[in-house]
Symmetry: C2
Subunit: 209 residues, 2 copies
């Protein structure tokens, strides 16, 4: 059985802290090697999944025409969002990297209609398994010095149509990946004071709330 | 800017592969040190969150009386689940470690009613941020040689009542943590052939499904 050393635990912690949500103003056009991309997918496939159901599907997108269609969906949704944040810096923020990133990956949840061990009381744990896979990819990418960004300002149904997703598949997240000019030292929305970092006292409780 | 070496990326990959869902038959009663528990929470707090909203709350549970109440909820839900899997090995499987694990942690999603940057089109990305924090905890725990297991066979509303969760809080996951007698070499449900490991060809697509 593998016992990790303090030094190895420290390396994991450094990766966790250095991971950033990367947008189009930091991506380089340099392609991601097949070897790196494979490692990122392998990281996903080692995620935990309820009842070992592995309910994940991935679509990698590199063609300009596909990216442009997704980008158009972003623009439409982002115009609606801009309205909600009108007296803020929102419209100055770069919130995606669809066209700049050499690789985009759409991550889906898909589960056959059968009872899954562990999913009988809290059904959403199936989708949550897919999110665990996403976080594994994000960390693996960072350790390979590859940036990844989550684009959530999208209409899922329109994305499904572009990617020809089967009807029972649910889009969990859409990601941009690529080498970067830099990883910021801290989350951009923290540096810009969009939101404050929360104190542990506000969020960690003992025995009950 | 931190550039990770191939060796460091390999260490992350080892941690990803060695992480297991640990149940009560592997937990030791040895307490988790405050230092280790703090490190696991720090890992959570470095997770990505939509719009830097950090919509997570954590309740750590160590008192026997609290654990017993949660265990009773598990028993009730698991009896229902057993019916669905009756001609299988289901009832022989140990599916939680609530009482054996020295620490239980309930993880919640809580978000004030305001527009969150990035959450205006796909609302569930708030909950998904919390799951990213969970995966960070799981990996950090493993790197510290501490086991963690997800207990999903629970009625959330009953857990909320035991933990006195505010009405607008949503239970995302309930976890058991402790030192272990062993980490299995492969997922137990894989070794038992409950489910087969999927091939990459079934789950990774190019450009469209």
């Amino acid at each position: 059985m593998l016992n990790f050393s303090v030094k190895e635990a420290d390396i994991l912690f450094e990766v966790l802290k250095a991971r950033r949500d990367v947008r189009g103003n930091r991506f380089l056009s340099k392609p991601i090697s097949e070897e790196h991309l494979d490692k990122i997918f392998q990281a996903a496939l080692h995620a935990p999944s309820v009842g070992f159901s592995q309910p994940w599907k991935f679509v990698s997108i590199t063609e300009e025409a596909q990216k442009q269609k997704i980008f158009n969906i972003f623009i439409e949704e982002n115009e609606k969002a801009s309205e909600l944040f009108k007296d803020t810096i929102y419209s100055d923020l770069k919130l995606e990297g669809i066209k700049e990133a050499p690789v985009n990956i759409a991550v889906y949840y898909s589960q056959k209609e059968k009872a899954i061990l562990g999913q009988t009381s809290m059904d959403q744990v199936g989708e949550y398994s897919v999110v665990c896979a996403i976080q594994n990819m994000w960390l693996m990418a960072r350790a390979l010095n590859i940036g990844m960004g989550w684009v959530s300002i999208l209409d899922s149904e329109k994305v499904n149509a572009v990617l020809k997703a089967p009807k029972d598949h649910k889009l969990i997240g859409y990601f941009c990946l690529g080498h970067v000019s830099e990883f910021l030292d801290s989350p951009e929305l923290e540096s810009l004071k969009w939101e404050k970092r929360k104190n542990k006292e506000e969020i960690i409780f003992k025995e009950t709330f």
